[in-house]
Each structure stands twice: as structure tokens, then as C-alpha cells.
Symmetry: C2
Subunit: 335 residues, 2 copies
């Protein structure tokens, strides 16, 4: 049987939530990944050293295995250099949200004017703390990411030594930024490699495929696929896996988020195999991230085999992407 | 108190469905409208004289008042001239669907090649039967209507005496067709005057605002508003009000349709008043349609007054647009 071994897979953008939901989803990510960059948009957001340490502790308790590292992030605010120095050994990045752009982002920044942020971003630059960015304006939903490109440019030019990660990119416009600025990087989700707005709203409306940024046009997906499949050195996998209870997804006002954590590796095998690029999956899933973030992941080998895997209808109260469908790859074992 | 009297309001595109649903929605439309063009996409679709007569009879039974005329339509197939002659006194138009474009449209046409349809469309032309068109390709969801413009052009040029109604238009591209071909007309819904894709999927996902064609971009809505507010002589109101049970809208695969029948007049008053165009509402809601279709509607006066109306959460099992919200106009009386 055909197999592939992925070494130290990393999910560089995941939502593990907290409380009961944390206990459902943390074991699923920690099972098949060596580590994951954990987003800080809790209620309240993670903004202190104590909160970072306490959240990391709760994640560790919820995990199923010890061979997993939760790489912690701080929710962006203007922080003093002194504070950043005190926290830097405990975090891998700081995540900045435009206020209201996504789930629990109300405390994000209202404006991306450089001057009020300059001291914080310069300190991050000097201390080598990466900036992860949810890059959307508050414009028309299909334009929000493309409109944000001028902010990325401004950040990249003003802080040339700051590593800036364009999170969960969904457009050709964002892909084109990668080769334009040395210090811009990107994560790409597995669902944005697969779906367009057509899958969300072209036939029936599919709340379980509704996410932010929303899936875009076919030509955007093609651009994302191209850099993922070639494992462009500035691109990393980040699932943006975001669990919501089934009842909240199937309601008259459904929240944004696609839950892919337990099926991401299997889906990526399908996609990379379909394009004869399985050889590049290791770089996309781990090597690029380790080099970009300068991290040395926990050793773990995940062996995937080409035999059918039926996706469960639910994990706890969460409906995963492709629920009930059959994937062509499954996780054979984790060593 | 400020009031406006609408004379013989017409809804030139409505879905009354059948069975229990018909009994819920027909009284709501017949209460405040003089007549409505009733769409034929039942299961099975309305394709025979017997089906037209029987459906009209069921509608009449379900109505609350007698002063309402259901203008009947036939589901497009290639029909003989002989059949069309036999049915023409019983229908107002024939509706053509691309197969699979919307609810119960599987029996629609697979292609809009002119030649196979020529005999039918020429007979309709000579007999003065209007053609109503659901104008969408099977392309990317945001492009489907704009891509369909070449079909409208082909139809308009090949059948210059056929009155062709572009149903529920949603784009600037369609608006621009109105002044380009003498025989192209359009209906516009009230929801497409109000919402864009942002309202459907820009914040939370709103299944009750999900419809086909999907709401488009702000500049498209602006183009629709312009011709509606000026009561462009080739534009008519058609609600495309389409009831689905709440359970079907709030599920993992929700059908397309916004239910506006009982609040359409109130919403139109709000919109036209907000733009100081209340004087044009009579033409948009009735006069244009009577002239375009050559119909003489049942006499009815609907008096709307500017006082608050709280939209019910449900009509039967159907959630209307703006459920639970307060509208600034209400129906005062119907004479």
C-alpha cells in the first residue's frame, strides 16, 4: 500500500478555544501534529504573561500526548518593550486583528496607522517576535483581503526586519505579495486550497464551509494551490481550524469557521497527490515553518496510507469539513 | 399621519408553492396585491393546460380575498404552436429556467441554443406570450448573471417581437441591457434593493437572506436602486418571494429563497421614502407591469401609513426577511 511519512507536521494557525471545546479539539491536533501556533482570540483575549502561561497549561492538560508543542501567541495591543522582553521566551508570535474582523476580535485594532504602533512593532522587530496578521479591511466581503494589501506593504516597508505572516491568505493579490517583500510570509489553510465561494453559496448554502476570510474566486484558489504545491519557501500550512458547535453553525446567524484539524493531513495528501506533488508536502507542512519561525519541532513521524477514511459526522458537538464523506488517505500510525 | 395609497399593486414574480405552503403564503400575497405572476416551478413543473387550470384553482381556494388575480405561467419546454394557442388565454407568460439554476428547476433547458427553441419562441412571439427568463449560467456564483447577458442579447436579436423579461436582476450588467434592446424588460425584488453579499456572508452567515441569484456587489445594488427609484418604464416589481420552512433554511444545506411577500409593500415605502421618490412607487409597483404585460389588474387600493410595524418572527413555519424587526411603514387598510 502506498504510504507517505510526514516528519514533524506543524499547523501554524489553529484555534483551540477553551473549556469544553478545548478538551474536544486539543487532543485531535496534538495527535497528528508536532506543534501548532495557537491563536489568542479567547474571551478575554490573551494579552498578559499570566494568560499565556495559564492557557498553555490548560492546553497541555487537554492534550492526549506529550509530544506536542503549543506555540503560544499574544493578542496584539501596543505593548512596552519591557513587557515584550518579559514575555518573549513564552510566545512565538503576536497576532494582530482588525477589530470585529472575525470571532472574538472585538479588542483588535481600529486602525492600521503606523505611528501609534511604531514603538511596539520596532521592539518586536528587535526582539525577533513575528507579527501574524489577520489581513482584512471592513470593506465588501469579496474585496477585504485585496484591499488590505496596502497595509501589508506599509508594514513591510516600515519594519523591514519584522517577520510578517499574512494569515490564511485567500487571494491571488496576497500570493503576489510574497515575492515583492522579503519580510512577508503566509499561511494557507487546506479548505482554501479546495473551495471557492461556489462551494459555500453556489448551490445550497453550506454553513460548515463558511469562514473568514470567505473563500474567493476560482482564480484565487488556483494561485493559492500553485504556491502550496510548489511549497514556496515563504508559505506554511496553517489550518485556521475553528470549531463551532453544530447548533451555532446551523442557525439563523452562523459564525465563521471550518473545522479541519483531524482531517487536514489526509486532505493535504489527497490534494498534493492529485497534482503529483506529494514530494513537496513535507516542506509545506513543516520544513518551511521551522525555518521561517526558527523553531525546532518535537520529533514525530506521521505515516499516512492510501486507504479510505470515513470522516466522522461529529467530533463532540463539532461538525468537521467533509463530514460523513470518504477520504482516500488515512493516518496509519504516529511514531 | 403620512400615508400613501397604492392602486392595484402587482407582484410580477412570486412563488406560491403548493399544498400546505400554498395555504400559508397565498393569503399573504392576495391580501395586499391585486395580482401576481405565479412561477411554475412546482414538482412536477406546470407544463399542461390541465396543470395550469388546476394550480390556478388551488390558488383561488387558498386565497383570502376574491379581489386578486393569479397570473399563471407555464414552465418552458419546446411547445407546439397548436398547444400554445390552446393555452394562451390561461397564461400570462412562459418561464424558462436553466436546468438546476434554482429550486425545482431540474426540468429546465440544458442549453440556450436558439435553433432548437426557434419554433416555440416564434410562436410565442406571434401569439404575444411573454418569455420570463431566469438568467444565470452555471459559472462562478458571482458571475452567473453577468455571463448570461450574451444569451439575453441573442434572444432579443433573434426574436425582436418577443417580450423578454429578465427576472430578478441583480447586476449593473443587466440594468445596462434595458436601454440597449427594445424588447428586454426586468423585474427587481425588494431584497436586492436592500442587501449585498455582505449582508448574506459578510458578518455572520444569514441563511434567511440567501437567494438565487445571490445578492451581488454594492455597485450592482446601486444600479438596481437607480432604475427602481426612477421607475424606469421597463422595470417592474417582482418579489421572488420564496418560502422555505425554517428547519430547511437553518440546516447544513439551506435552500435559496427570501420570504418577503407580506412585508414587500412596507419595505418599498421605506426605500422610496428614504430617497424622496415615493411618487414613483405607483409606477414601479403596478403601472409599468400593466403596460408591459397589457393586463388590467383587479381594482384594489392599499393604504400604507407611516407608523411602526413589527415583522412577525414566523408566518406558519416560514421566517420572513426582517423577522422581529420594526418597519417604519405598515398597511393601514385595503379597499
Amino acid at each position: 500500500m502506498e504510504t507517505i511519512t510526514l516528519t514533524m507536521p506543524l499547523d501554524m494557525h489553529v484555534h483551540l478555544r477553551d473549556g469544553d471545546m478545548l478538551n474536544i479539539v486539543a487532543p485531535l491536533t496534538s495527535y497528528s501534529f508536532s506543534g501548532a501556533l495557537v491563536m489568542p482570540n479567547l474571551v478575554p483575549p490573551v494579552t498578559t504573561l499570566e494568560a499565556v502561561k495559564a492557557y498553555r497549561h490548560r492546553i497541555k492538560l487537554a492534550m492526549e500526548s506529550d509530544d506536542f508543542e503549543p506555540y503560544m501567541t499574544l493578542f496584539y495591543q501596543n505593548y512596552s518593550r519591557e513587557f515584550l522582553e518579559s514575555v518573549q521566551d513564552h510566545i512565538t508570535a503576536i497576532k494582530i486583528y482588525p477589530s470585529g474582523a472575525t470571532t472574538n476580535s472585538e479588542g483588535g485594532v481600529v486602525s492600521f496607522d503606523i505611528e501609534p504602533m511604531r514603538a511596539t512593532l520596532e521592539a518586536m522587530s528587535e526582539l525577533g517576535i513575528c507579527l501574524c496578521v489577520h489581513g482584512e479591511t471592513n470593506g465588501f466581503v469579496m474585496d477585504r483581503e485585496a484591499e488590505f494589501m496596502s497595509v501589508y506593504e506599509k508594514l513591510a516597508i516600515n519594519f523591514p526586519k519584522l517577520k510578517i505572516v499574512m494569515e490564511h491568505i485567500t487571494t491571488r493579490a496576497a500570493v503576489e505579495m510574497l515575492d515583492r517583500y522579503d519580510n512577508l510570509y503566509a499561511t494557507i489553510t487546506v479548505h482554501h486550497l479546495m473551495i471557492t465561494l461556489d462551494d459555500v453559496a453556489g448551490g445550497m448554502l453550506r454553513p460548515h464551509l463558511f469562514c473568514k476570510p470567505i473563500a474567493k474566486r476560482p482564480e484565487d484558489r488556483a494561485a493559492l494551490l500553485k504556491v502550496a504545491l510548489e511549497a514556496h519557501p515563504k508559505v506554511m500550512f496553517g489550518s485556521d481550524s475553528a470549531p463551532h458547535p453544530k447548533s451555532a453553525k446551523e442557525s439563523c446567524g452562523c459564525g465563521a469557521g471550518v473545522f479541519t484539524a483531524p482531517i487536514a493531513l489526509q486532505l493535504l495528501c489527497e490534494i498534493f497527490e492529485a497534482h503529483n506533488k506529494l514530494d513537496n508536502l513535507q516542506a509545506f507542512i513543516s520544513d518551511n515553518a521551522q525555518r521561517i519561525y526558527g523553531i525546532c519541532a518535537e520529533y514525530k513521524e506521521v505515516v499516512l496510507a492510501k486507504h479510505d477514511f470515513v470522516v466522522p459526522e461529529m467530533y463532540g458537538e463539532v461538525v468537521p469539513m467533509r463530514a460523513g464523506e470518504t477520504l482516500r488517505w488515512s493516518i496509519e500510525r504516529v511514531d
